[in-house]
Symmetry: C2
Subunit: 251 residues, 2 copies
DNA sequence: TCTTCAGGTTGATTCACATCAAGGTGAATT
DNA sequence: AATTCACCTTGATGTGAATCAACCTGAAGA
């Protein structure tokens, strides 16, 4: 089972590497990543400013906190985590980024990245130089609108997380994360009920403000309740409604 | 003491009401609110799209969650809180907004406000219709850049709060909020060490993921440690360095 | 003046999660 | 096949903040 999914990931990655010069027009993520009502000419212009470099290996950084900000990034394959390092050296994971999602926008305000981003597994990335994006946005109202919306979306997501951290129990937090990942998979036409977690328990705990031990116990509990089947990083949602009830959010 | 500060607030407000047709060019907050390297002609254009309506009374809403999104808002005087209502009816305060700060940007992503905003005291507001802002942004690179930065700043602020909620103790959270308010006062050339909290203990607790009782106890503790003098909503910071140590952030 | 009520404080008790401690598992290395 | 190491799980115990409860304070209204 584990092996099966690994293979499919590798296959997906190979097709990307092979398609090294994919462009936005033919990228299968474009409906998620840049759902612009664009003329093909517009897409071409956008495509021209985007840089596709060689894939990031697991644990490689895309950028680090306090790096000079130059670009935002779209994930084409793989997963990344964004995190801040607190002054006493601890980490705070601020987000996970899946294919089709954009990261790096927190660097705009200071011309300095406010967080670090590293690959949780091999990842292909599209780099979008920000000054070019700004210029193009001024010419293409749809694009400008889209980026305002993307940033606004990041704000609402962060506010969701704030609420989660401040109001919800360990069970609810983990349930909410599983539902979030499930939903993001569905958006990419992957299974909403079966998937492999790209991140460790430590990262999950860190993101949700919990310790590893607590995360582990929650998974055990969910398994006992037959809401989830957990096999290491392999997750199967057995009872979506049960999970939603458990998350206690918008059910 | 309390009376003294109330008077100065009222005075500030009256000068606003009197200056009903203040414009961005002569607004004393413009260096904070819209620190654009603008030609006066640009300022005039921006000013033309901004609407100044009659002040909000205490507890009045500026907008509500799920209202149709049309504008973002700048605070000219007074304070507002933004909050979300969870499905089980509880509130999560997501931010406090002081004069010179912009709110409402979380509505852009869905054309629907993702939170509600209400006045914590009488407040004067500048309304900035978003479609006009978009059009103007396309023409004025500085303005476009500035709004990207504002939104990015909101993201980094939210991420700060996420870290605070997930990693810091009650003492640290309250200390961090006091320092934040102090800093925002300083930005407006007000005292960094003496101010009146516009929000209740309940709101503070709600924002910081704590109960009222805990907030109250933290204030008592800080007072005993002679870091703060607390007289109801009147705050005096007695030992800024002590407070910073207590916050345990960037000390 | 008395009452009411919202907002705040303080103390006693409880509880969810952290911490500490010990093992388990499986992939990579030798 | 044995060793190592990162990652995960489970159990026992401790603790910071929530909860429950009582009371205080001051403004608003009768």
């Amino acid at each position: 089972m584990t092996i099966h999914l690994k293979q499919s990931e590798d296959a997906a990655f190979k097709s990307c590497a092979h398609d090294y010069q994919v462009n936005c027009g033919n990228c299968r993520l474009n409906s998620i990543c840049l759902p612009l009502a664009l003329e093909s000419d517009d897409i071409q212009q956008l495509d021209d400013i985007i840089q596709r470099s060689k894939p990031l290996q697991k644990n490689q950084h895309l950028y680090r906190e306090s790096d000079h900000f130059q670009s935002v990034y779209a994930v084409r394959s793989g997963t990344l985590k964004a995190y801040k390092t607190t002054d006493d050296g601890r980490e705070q994971v601020t987000g996970f980024y899946f294919p089709g999602e954009i990261l790096g926008m927190d660097g705009i305000s200071n011309n300095t990245h406010a967080s670090s981003a590293k690959a949780l597994e091999t990842a292909a990335i599209c780099e979008i130089p920000f000054t070019s994006l700004e210029k193009l946005s001024a010419l293409m109202p749809n694009l400008q609108r889209h980026f305002f919306q993307l940033m606004s979306h990041e704000i609402t997501e962060d506010q969701q997380l704030i609420t989660l951290l401040s109001k919800n129990s360990a069970d609810e937090r983990v349930a909410a994360l599983m539902l979030s990942i499930s939903g993001r998979n569905a958006r990419r036409k992957l299974s909403a009920t079966q998937f492999r977690l790209p991140m460790s328990r430590v990262d999950i705990g860190n993101y949700l403000g919990l310790t590893v031990e607590t995360v582990s116990r929650v998974f055990s509990r969910m398994q006992k309740m037959e809401v989830l089947r957990v096999d290491n990083k392999e997750i199967e949602i057995l009872d979506t409604q049960g999970l939603k009830n458990m998350a206690n959010l918008g059910g």
